[in-house]
Amino acid sequence: MSNLKGKIAFVGIGEIPTGRYPEAGAISYAIESAKMAIRDAGINKEDIDYVLPTAALFSPAFNTELVTCRVVEELGLKNVKRNAQIFAGGSSSTCALEIAASLINSGGASTVLFVHADKLGTGVSLQGGIDLFSTAGISSEWEVPYGQHYSAIAALATNRYKYETGTTDEELASICVSNRKWAELNPNAFFRKPLTIEEVMASKMLSTPLRAKMSNMLFDGGAAFIVTSAERARDITDRPVYLLGEGGTVTHFVYSQEPDVSRFGWAKAGKMAFEMAGITPREIDVAEIYDSYPIYQLIGFEELGFAERGQGGKMFINGDTWPGGKIPCTTNGGMLSQGHTGAGGAVALMVETVRQLMGKAGDRQVKNARFALETATGGTYMDAQVTILGTEIP
């Protein structure tokens, strides 16, 4: 088990509203987010000695700029020892956090800035986006020739899960509704108008039983966070957000080789994270579960112990996961309502987890949030990554 429990903490977060910015270059999303995170932490920018930009998908040229230290130069950082890209698709933020934590705990780094920026809303055409996501991470040997793409991948999980549990399409639609209720309270979310189960069920069928309003949409966005040692964090802020637990497991590359598309690796990753944190799902105040499609949020929610298998859908319908509910879930609105920004989907979720624990979530603040769980997965749901954060060390 990792010995990082309580050793490092988040001290600053930044995020621009998810949206469409045809005029602005993607570098501005990175710089704005990083500046916000530095100001939020209240640190001197020269304290940052490591910068970990994750990848942007819309442009290889822009991504090369991220790799070749543009963020460091644009921010005028003078004490950066290394700038290195950490990229694991949707799992990038979790992977970067664990790497940053290990570096800090070993003395290899002091204060680490992680930053994401991508322009998938206005930097690629709609069909270009569909075509990008029909190939990115999908096996060109074994799946692309059969017309595989991300909606179909989510639909394959949904149909098997429905077959094994009897969960209904309305229950799945209610996950989109639950996320929207949170997004209504989130100024950084793109979709903020109320949504009903009927509207979800009336939207265009993509790949059965997955409908258009059960699908994420791509936008421009950027976000950043800063982590440092727990000791330094206590000097910087009176509300550090500690890393308490982490667990992960990689289950496949080729989607059709996944042994269980109705469960994936969440139970194993969750057990690791909870054991390390020394708490149980009952003590979690906020569950920031990765969505991108409702099926993944539902499977994660159940496999991590917030509901019995097959019973989670009822909790999304009856309001348990909504604002004021007993287990607030995906409180930024998730990729379904805040919007999908590539690797940024889970960056936004991690930033939201920290925001809730810092008590800075405004109208959607979960009262007295002490412990929160966050999940991430990349590619074709190739892995299960679980992070537990808290304002105290149990």
Binding site: Q127, I130, D131, S134, T135, S140, E141, W142, E143, V144, P145, Y146, G147, Q148, H149, S151, A152, A155, L156, A157, T158, N159, R160, Y163, K204, M205, L206, S207, T208, P209, L210, A212, S215, V254, Y255, S256, Q257, V261
Partner: protein, 139 residues
């Protein structure tokens, strides 16, 4: 805009026997001569013991639909004319052998999880014939 051509699978050298067999109407997988593990998709070495002493074995071509979906809109450009089409994960009778494919030869609305299917072959181009699956006729 010209409609893009159907994507042809990338073929690595060690996978060639799989596609040669498919052209001849046989579905094959690998088996490790050292430890007996069934292997699909084709690998350079055994996924269990790393042995490179692998043999090609013919599959029964029979299996079941593990999961499926009917693609009705927003598919990759090259597949627009095929809609609605069925994507499925098929588990073959041979232990550990499962693959993505299309279900053909039936109305897409009739496909179900755990439905028995058998392999058929559809020519994609001069080099590639794709294994696909159709429902097993009820006796």
């Amino acid at each position: 805009m010209d409609k893009p051509k159907k994507p042809s699978p990338v073929v690595n050298p060690w996978v060639k026997p799989f596609w040669e067999a498919a052209r001849e109407g046989r579905l094959v997988y690998q088996r490790c001569r050292s430890c007996g593990t069934n292997i699909f998709y084709p690998r350079i070495a055994c996924i269990s013991c790393f042995s490179d002493d692998l043999e090609w074995v013919q599959s029964s071509g029979k299996g079941t639909v593990y999961s499926y979906t009917v693609v009705e809109s927003n598919c990759p450009s090259a597949f627009v004319d095929d809609m609605p089409y069925v994507i499925a994960i098929v588990k073959l009778q041979e232990k550990g052998v499962q693959m993505l494919s299309n279900i053909v030869g039936c109305d897409p609305v009739d496909v179900r999880c755990d439905m028995p299917v058998e392999v058929v072959f559809e020519k994609l181009n001069d080099d590639i014939t794709l294994p696909k699956f159709r429902p097993v006729a009820l006796k």
